[in-house]
């Protein structure tokens, strides 16, 4: 069964236009002009129960707007959506019983009261019985090591401590679907990996469906089997992370350190007939770009026997680079066409 089902979802905002100059300001006083901005443009996707899905895109791509529609905060302009069997905006109060939400940039704890008091209040708000609450809290507190924090007021917590408490707050009522909007923003590397581990365990043990937006692609690599990429309100990629890497990782880079000075010309000559590109870093260092269809070992074979090599480093394209180039091109389809076009050209040259 699908935990989240979205069909042709659209959200349009009316934005006030401010006309220029004094005359414009006066005109605005009497008649406002509005322009429509479509933040989410007819997107469709579905997420099965128990999946961890990454939702990525540049700032302003429409990620947060989608999350806000999925959590019942915003009412969509058009399209249909169903989350955990509910239409979020229509039955908001019933629906939110089944979901947990963490906004990395907003706190859902009460600033002036102690952490445990916040949890107690949420217990009542979410109508969780005392036994269930105690069991769940003990489990979460132990897992996230919050014992010492429970009696402190929220305003005295560090960001990392607060974020762990936010997670507890979002999970106290044992939701089946968890939405995380930039959960690791501003956190140090230790807390980040702690949170990732925790989320993975949650997903494994309770089968919690997780949808997270992030700008940190390490979150995605650590957690998600699937990625949905958004650009300008449209989905430009929806599929596995491995697929994305394969489709987009256009090649690998090998760095060489030589014992004796080796000329670029020499290197090019050794790998003649191979579609590789050499660049020299200095007299003793060079790197070669090897496209995906070529075996790294073939290239190495040509070089290793002849040069005096002290060190070799193979660098795979990382997700950051892939995502950056997708953002820049604005579509996940283009590069394949580009590669195809390139291959065509090559064939032409060979003939």
């Amino acid at each position: 069964m699908n935990a989240i089902q979205v069909q042709d979802l659209r959200k349009t905002f009316k934005v006030q236009k401010n006309r220029e100059g004094l005359k414009g300001a006066f005109a605005d006083l009497f008649k406002r002009q509005y322009s429509e901005v479509t933040a989410v443009k007819d997107i469709s996707f579905s997420i099965p129960e128990g999946e961890i899905c990454g939702y990525i895109g540049e700032n302003g791509a429409g990620k947060s707007t989608t999350i806000k529609m999925l959590t019942g905060i915003l009412v969509p302009t058009a399209g249909s959506l169903s989350v955990g069997g509910f239409v979020p905006y229509a039955e908001r109060e019933k629906f939110v019983q089944n979901i947990g939400v963490v906004f990395g940039q907003r706190s859902q704890l009460w600033w002036d009261i102690g952490v445990i008091e916040s949890f107690q209040l949420l217990r009542k708000v979410y109508r969780v019985s005392e036994q269930d609450f105690k069991k769940r809290l003990d489990e979460l507190v132990e897992r996230l090591e919050l014992q010492e924090l429970l009696n402190r007021p929220v305003r005295k917590l560090s960001l990392g401590q607060r974020m762990r408490c936010e997670l507890v707050a979002a999970l106290l009522h044992n939701p089946s679907i968890l939405f995380l909007d930039e959960p690791t923003i501003g956190l140090d590397i230790v807390v980040k990996s702690e949170i990732r581990e925790f989320l993975k365990d949650m997903n494994r043990e309770h089968g919690t469906t997780i949808l997270l937006t992030t700008h940190d692609l390490q979150d995605i690599e650590a957690l998600c089997s699937r990625v949905i990429m958004l650009d300008d309100g449209r989905i430009i990629y929806d599929g596995g992370l491995e697929d994305l890497k394969q489709r987009w990782g256009t090649g690998r880079e090998v760095q060489f350190q030589f014992g004796t000075a080796t000329k670029l010309q020499q290197l090019t000559q050794w790998t003649e007939g191979m579609p590789v590109t050499w660049t020299a870093e200095n007299e003793l260092g060079a790197k070669v770009w090897i496209p995906l269809e070529l075996n790294v070992s073939d290239v190495l074979g040509r070089v290793v026997g002849q040069a005096d090599i002290t060190d070799i480093k193979i660098i795979e394209t990382n997700t950051d680079d892939i995502v950056r180039s997708i953002y820049q091109s604005g579509s996940a389809e283009k590069p394949e066409e580009k590669i195809a076009a390139l291959l065509d050209e090559k064939e032409v040259i060979h003939v």
Binding site: N98, R106, D112, R123, R127
Partner: protein, 290 residues
């Protein structure tokens, strides 16, 4: 939609743990917690409010001496004797110490900085929660501001306390409705931030209108005839003028029921724009700051 004001309390529990009767009791408990927590938070910052007692006493003083000068040797003005006016001024300002709150500002801040999003992911009614927080604040202001302020005012100025128990009971019940109506007007003003980019002007205007038209600064009967007849069909008089009239003994016996009735009617009527605004706002909610 299960978003009606009373619907929130009545809506049944969810899947997690408590459901039905038990769940309802828990949510009701949560609403009471909002009163309690706000009260305790205010108590923690009570030093800020000691100056409030002084300010309200000062306001009473200024008004008392102004009215004294206006009366001169005259007997009565707009149906008020000099003694009644003193009592009216003192009790009106002290009532304000209780019913006044910043719900309008709190709501519009929530809307403008986007933290309203957090409010909408919780299974409760936002407006009702705000009302409860207002009540917590009101309780604090009643005990820490109004009561001590009243004691000081009685010591400093010739205030005549009512002798009839009906006046006391009537006044206290009406004071609670003053709080409800004033908070409702604040909520309406606050929710307007959904519709205008900056409702600062509306909030200031509301404050002046409530202070002036509720009869806090000048009793309604002293306004020109046409204006006072307009004010009698507006909700503002129900905040200060009507309870003040009961306390000063200008309204007695069955009359108390009548003025209380006016308050109850206004309380019910003002629910309509709140429910409407809340629903309309859900449709066009635009969470700032992404």
């Amino acid at each position: 939609m299960s978003e009606q004001l009373n619907g929130a309390v009545a809506s049944s529990g969810g899947s997690s743990g408590g459901s039905g009767e038990n769940g309802r009791r828990l949510l009701l408990g949560a609403y009471f917690d909002f009163i309690r927590i706000r009260f305790l938070t205010m108590l923690a910052y009570r030093i800020n409010y000691y100056s409030g007692i002084l300010i309200y006493t000062l306001n009473i003083g200024v008004n008392y001496f102004t009215w004294k000068a206006i009366y001169g040797n005259g007997e009565s003005l707009g149906g008020f004797t000099g003694a009644q006016m003193t009592t009216y001024v003192a009790v009106s300002w002290m009532a304000r110490a209780f019913y006044f709150n910043n719900l309008d500002r709190e709501i519009s801040t929530d809307i403008r900085d986007g933290s309203i999003a957090i409010q909408f992911i919780r299974p409760y009614n936002y407006v009702l929660v705000k009302m409860m927080q207002g009540l917590g604040e009101g309780l604090f202001r009643f005990m820490m501001l109004m009561i001590p302020g009243m004691v000081i005012a009685i010591l400093l100025f010739p205030v005549q306390l009512p002798t009839e128990p009906s006046a006391w009971i009537g006044f206290l019940v009406m004071l609670f409705f003053s709080f409800l109506i004033s908070s409702q007007i604040n909520i309406i003003t606050g929710l307007s931030a959904f519709f205008v980019e900056n409702n600062e002007g509306m909030m200031r205007m509301k404050r002046v209108i409530v202070d002036l038209f509720s009869g806090l600064i000048v009793p309604i009967t002293l306004f020109p005839g046409w204006l006072s007849s307009i004010l009698k069909v507006l909700p503002f008089q129900a905040i200060t003028y009507l309870p003040g009239s009961v306390f000063t003994g200008r309204v007695q016996g069955v009359g108390i029921w009548n003025v209380l009735g006016i308050q109850v009617i206004w309380f019910l009527v003002l629910l309509v724009p709140i429910v409407w605004l809340y629903h309309a706002a859900r449709q066009r909610l635009f969470v700032q700051g992404g």
